[in-house]
């Protein structure tokens, strides 16, 4: 192999193998050239950084939820549960206007919970999403006792309870369907073709 100009300058072969790895015997070696695999500590730091950038995409930093956000989730979850409970009572008593008022208040609480979705797990956010879809464009005055009961069960048992699992989201969807509320309304055709 013909020695390069740089190798001639230092009077040694271009590369040599040591016990610690491959060495590039060039003038630029001491200037911590990033293209060669060097055993020095400083270059080693560069090397690690280099590999990290090449092999793995940067991780999204997830900020820990603030205390105020956690408080807000608890508050609006509790509000939603109470509003759903009052809907059940109103429907039992035949108080249609009260039922509609509580239904609208529930929608507002759900919207606040949706805004806070980053605080909780994806499944919980998904459940909020399904509930909002199922209740949107509905006239609460026409809700039956069974429908109010179903909404209350979902909020009390899943949304305002602990960690939400995938199978609980499925159960909630089934319950909504059972009482004639459509959880897939948001991805259904808004109007049918004539």
């Amino acid at each position: 192999m013909e020695p390069t100009d740089i190798a001639e300058d230092v009077g040694v072969p271009e590369f040599s193998i040591s016990g610690q790895g491959m060495l590039a015997n060039t003038k630029v070696q001491d200037a911590r050239c990033e293209y060669y695999d060097l055993p020095y500590v400083k270059s080693g730091v560069d090397k690690k950084q280099f590999l990290k950038e090449r092999t793995a995409p940067p991780r999204r930093e997830i900020a820990a939820p603030k205390t105020s956000q956690l408080y807000a989730v608890r508050k609006y979850s509790r509000d939603a549960r109470d509003e759903a409970a009052r809907m059940v009572h109103a429907s039992k008593d035949g108080e249609i206007m009260e039922m509609a008022s509580q239904g609208l208040a529930l929608m507002e609480s759900l919207q606040e919970l949706w805004r806070l979705r980053s605080v909780r797990e994806d499944e919980w956010a998904s459940l909020v999403n399904f509930l909002q879809a199922a209740l949107s464009k509905e006239e609460f005055e026409r809700f039956t006792e069974e429908q109010c009961e179903a909404v209350h069960v979902i909020i009390a048992n899943y949304l305002a309870a602990g960690l939400v699992r995938d199978d609980e989201v499925t159960k909630a969807r089934q319950l909504l369907r059972k009482v004639g509320l459509d959880p897939w309304k948001a991805i259904s055709k808004p109007k049918s073709e004539p």
Binding site: N129, V169, P190, S192
Partner: protein, 317 residues
């Protein structure tokens, strides 16, 4: 879900009047308009039992859930619901309307006050839940998924490999299933019905035969000539309508939104056909089963096989 289907198989199916729901109805129960869903629900409620089948399950997975997967991938690539809408609107042609239905002009009519970031997030959640929970809900919506065809593709479950990114749909064609596919055995048991369908299709004028009916006719001929060769034809992928008709043969009523093929197949199998028009304002169209002697029963196909004894339409419900 495979476990759920097995549990259904062990469970006792309630007796009473039964209706078979085809792929169009099952998909419609997810993505059609509220009025249409209401119509379908009302019709099903008039029966004691609702059933569907493994091939319908396979078609549901292949059509609706694959599309949801496509949309989720596009959403990830484009990063915005508005961009996805534009993409779908410009790339997909009108006949791919079902894909567009899931996305275009839908979410923003429900959540009018949401911005694009919110709509993107909502779409992401909906699509993921549809992919991961759609089959379980499909099974829950009926009293039983008829397992008679032994369609291995229909038993496949969807596995989430990476959330919002990668989903494993399992095998989609009979030729990939090897010995797990039992469709050949099923067809062997359904020879009388196959002959009845073949007779009727041969008697139809050419202009009434759709591409699917022509494929079904050719498939039946091929089956009677060389049964082993049909697996390479991927039956549940290429002649789904025929297989669904055979799976439903023991059920007296067939409910569909696709009358083109079903009107002939139901006639051959002496079933009552109920067609749900695409316009929800129109009532269901009910075709009673044909009177005896009005359906052709003899063709050259049967005579070549020398099986005149089981040549009659024997699939009476």
């Amino acid at each position: 879900m495979e476990g759920h289907i097995e549990a259904q198989e062990r469970a006792v199916v309630p007796s009473g009047s039964a209706v078979f729901l085809d792929t169009t109805i099952q998909i419609g129960r997810f993505v059609h308009s509220p009025e249409m869903k209401q119509r379908i629900r009302q019709r099903i409620q008039t029966f004691d039992v609702s059933l569907t089948s493994l091939v319908v399950r396979q078609e549901f997975r292949r059509r609706l859930l694959k599309e949801a997967d496509y949309l989720l991938r596009q959403l990830k690539r484009l990063g915005s619901y508005a961009k996805l809408r534009r993409h779908i609107g410009s790339v997909l042609t009108t006949w791919q309307r079902r894909k567009r239905n899931i996305c275009v002009e839908i979410l923003d009519t429900i959540f009018e006050n949401d911005d694009d970031a919110d709509l993107t997030e909502r779409t992401k959640y909906f699509l993921r839940d549809l992919i991961t929970g759609g089959l379980a809900e499909f099974d829950e919506l009926v009293d039983r998924v008829i397992p008679d065809s032994g369609c291995a593709c229909g038993r496949q479950d969807i596995r989430e490999v990476k959330k919002y990114q990668k989903y494993h749909f399992g095998i989609a064609k009979c030729s990939q299933a090897e010995s797990a596919c039992r469709i050949l055995d099923f067809l062997a048991k359904r020879k009388p019905q196959l002959r009845a369908i073949s007779c009727l299709l041969k008697s139809l004028p050419a202009e009434q035969k759709t591409d699917e009916l022509k494929a079904a006719e050719e498939f039946i001929e091929m089956f009677f000539k060389d049964p082993l060769a049909i697996r390479t034809r991927d039956p549940c992928y290429t002649v789904g309508d025929l297989l669904v008709a055979l799976e439903s043969a023991d059920i007296p009523v067939f409910y569909t939104m696709n009358a083109k093929e079903s009107e002939h197949l139901c006639r051959a199998l002496h079933q009552q056909l109920i067609v749900r028009p695409r316009n929800p304002e129109r009532p269901d169209i009910v075709h009673p089963p044909p009177a005896k002697g009005t359906v052709p029963t003899q063709t050259s196909t049967t005579s070549t096989n020398g099986a005149s004894a089981d040549n009659k339409v024997g699939a009476s419900p």
